[in-house]
């Protein structure tokens, strides 16, 4: 029921696993993501985004936009580079792989 209702609202609730976004986001923290953020705008450097892993699309990642890498492609990075797999490993991320922008922590 909630899932059905939720599908109508462009918001997503996510729980952070892992330490690549430390200290901005700590393991276990929850975030509300605005899935409409990039309907009429493009991702900007420093946005924290949820994205589909380019190598395994069912798997969701949370990273920070580093910079644009050409048209409709972005480089993403973890805040804690020693514990992050990001664009250094999987290259730029396409626009349609970005699920939304982190709006708030709760």
């Amino acid at each position: 029921m909630l899932r059905t209702l939720g599908a109508l609202v462009p918001l997503g609730r996510y729980r952070v696993a892992g330490r690549s976004m430390t200290p901005a986001l700590i393991e276990g923290e929850r975030v509300l993501v605005n899935k409409a953020a990039y309907w009429f705008a493009t991702p900007r450097p420093d946005d924290v985004v949820v994205l589909r892993d380019p190598r395994a699309p069912q798997r969701l990642l949370i990273k920070r936009i580093e910079r644009a890498a050409g048209v409709d492609e972005w480089l993403v990075a973890g805040d804690n580079p020693d514990a992050s797999t990001d664009s250094r490993a999987f290259g730029p991320v396409a626009r349609d792989a970005i699920v939304g922008k982190v709006w708030l922590r709760y």
């Binding site: 997503g12 609730r13 729980r15 892992g18 798997r59 949370i62 020693d82 797999t85």
Partner: protein
């Protein structure tokens, strides 16, 4: 708002987003830090053994002396920094709060290593390098204790002398 979101989470759990390193290799070892500290000791020994500068009279000898001194200093700089880096990674990524019960002075030990590493870089000071090694040995023992592994101190078997902390 936040309370409401938490309430919704109870009914329907949130999806997981990964902020992982794909290489959660879990491989940590304080060996490299100890080798770095031993290298700093060795460089101080070599600098001390170099004796006085031969002076500008004999250009070839003088250049050779300065070249050696420069190389020893460079290696000392690099290895003191290596010690700091290796210790920082293990301290930040491996150690968990519960490990502090076994090693309550861990943070102080790391702090001393950070300060000691800088001191080794700043000066030609054999005693400072030996203190750095002592700090890293203590850190290595705390690391293995956190993993429940017994350790022993064994001679390095290198020209520098000194001891290494290794799993027993």
């Amino acid at each position: 708002m936040k309370a409401l979101l938490r309430l919704i989470d109870r009914i329907s759990p949130p999806e997981t987003v990964h902020a992982h390193c794909d290489i959660p290799c879990g491989i940590y070892d304080p060996h490299l830090a100890q080798i770095g500290a031993l290298t700093c000791i060795r460089m101080n020994q070599l600098i001390n053994d170099l004796g006085d500068s031969p002076g500008p009279g004999d250009k070839k000898k003088n250049d050779a002396w300065h070249s050696s001194l420069g190389r020893y200093i460079t290696v000392k700089e690099e290895h003191a920094e290596l010690v700091k880096r290796e210790v920082r990674i293990i301290w930040g990524d491996f150690f968990k709060p519960e490990h502090l019960e076994k090693s309550p002075d861990l943070h102080a030990t790391v702090w001393n290593i950070m300060k000691g590493g800088s001191k080794v870089r700043q000066n030609i000071d054999l005693a400072a390098a030996e203190e750095l090694l002592a700090g890293v040995q203590k850190f290595a023992e705390a690391f293995w204790a956190a993993k429940g592994v017994k350790t022993q101190r064994v001679p390095s078997q290198q020209a520098v002398g000194g001891e290494l902390v290794v799993p027993a």
